[in-house]
């Protein structure tokens, strides 16, 4: 079972994971990661921009690589775009497999690639000193590149 989506509205991960688990009868384990917008000091909102012709096809290509690399029964990969508030889910990746190592590693692999090699641009709306707020683009972090390098073997 393969379910890859870009969503422009708030979603509830629990409503995706239940049916996904049910759809993979006979699984040995299912690993799920849900990322949420953190309550960082002064951050009022997060906006994710994507580029339609590349972003969703890129997620499908990533899913293809995960199915090649790990022995999976199913993969769910859902990513938000648009404006989100702190506490809202941004991303949900769930992998079902006969063995736990494949399920856990597939989620780890997909998350590292979604975070630093997928076509998303993020900006934060931060409160300013004068009581207003401003948007700031988020730059790539060194940590993301080193996470990604773990898979290049």
């Amino acid at each position: 079972m393969r379910d890859i989506r870009l969503l422009d509205q708030m979603f509830l991960p629990g409503l995706l994971i239940g049916p996904f688990t049910q759809a993979n009868k006979g699984l040995g384990g299912v690993c799920t990661f849900v990322g949420e917008v953190r309550y960082d000091e002064g951050v009022e909102a997060l906006e994710l921009t994507h580029y339609e012709p590349l972003t969703l096809p890129g997620m499908h290509a990533l899913a293809d690589r995960a199915f090649e690399r790990f022995t999976l029964m199913g993969l769910l990969m859902v990513h938000r775009v648009g404006q989100m508030r702190p506490g809202e889910p941004i991303v949900c990746v769930s992998a079902a497999a006969l063995h736990r190592r494949d399920a856990i590693d597939a989620v780890d692999f997909c998350m590292d690639h979604l975070k630093s090699a997928a076509w998303f641009w993020k900006r934060e709306k931060r409160a300013t000193q004068n009581g207003e707020s401003e948007w700031h683009w988020i730059e790539p972090r060194e940590q993301d590149h080193s996470d990604l390098a773990r898979w290049e073997s």
Partner: protein, 78 residues
């Protein structure tokens, strides 16, 4: 223009007049864009797609009438 390139351009999309005689190339594109944006584009981390397909080498851009050129800054990370 995606990400912060849209801010430099002060727009998410720009319509460019095309030279009549030949396709638009990389130097022609930069010449047609606001200078702050044009200066940023040589950053090797900036990728270019034409009609949704990434160019292996943006310097070899060849665009015609109706083509959509996407200027893609580095993605944001985690």
């Amino acid at each position: 223009m995606l990400g912060k390139l849209a801010d430099l351009a002060q727009a998410a999309t720009i319509d460019l007049p095309l030279p009549l005689s030949k396709p638009l190339d990389w130097e022609g594109l930069k010449a047609a864009l606001p200078s702050a944006l044009a200066e940023a584009l040589d950053d090797p981390r900036i990728r270019v797609a034409i009609n949704g397909a990434l160019l292996p080498n943006k310097a070899k851009l060849q665009a015609g009438a109706g083509d959509e050129i996407a200027l893609l800054p580095p993605v944001s990370g985690g």
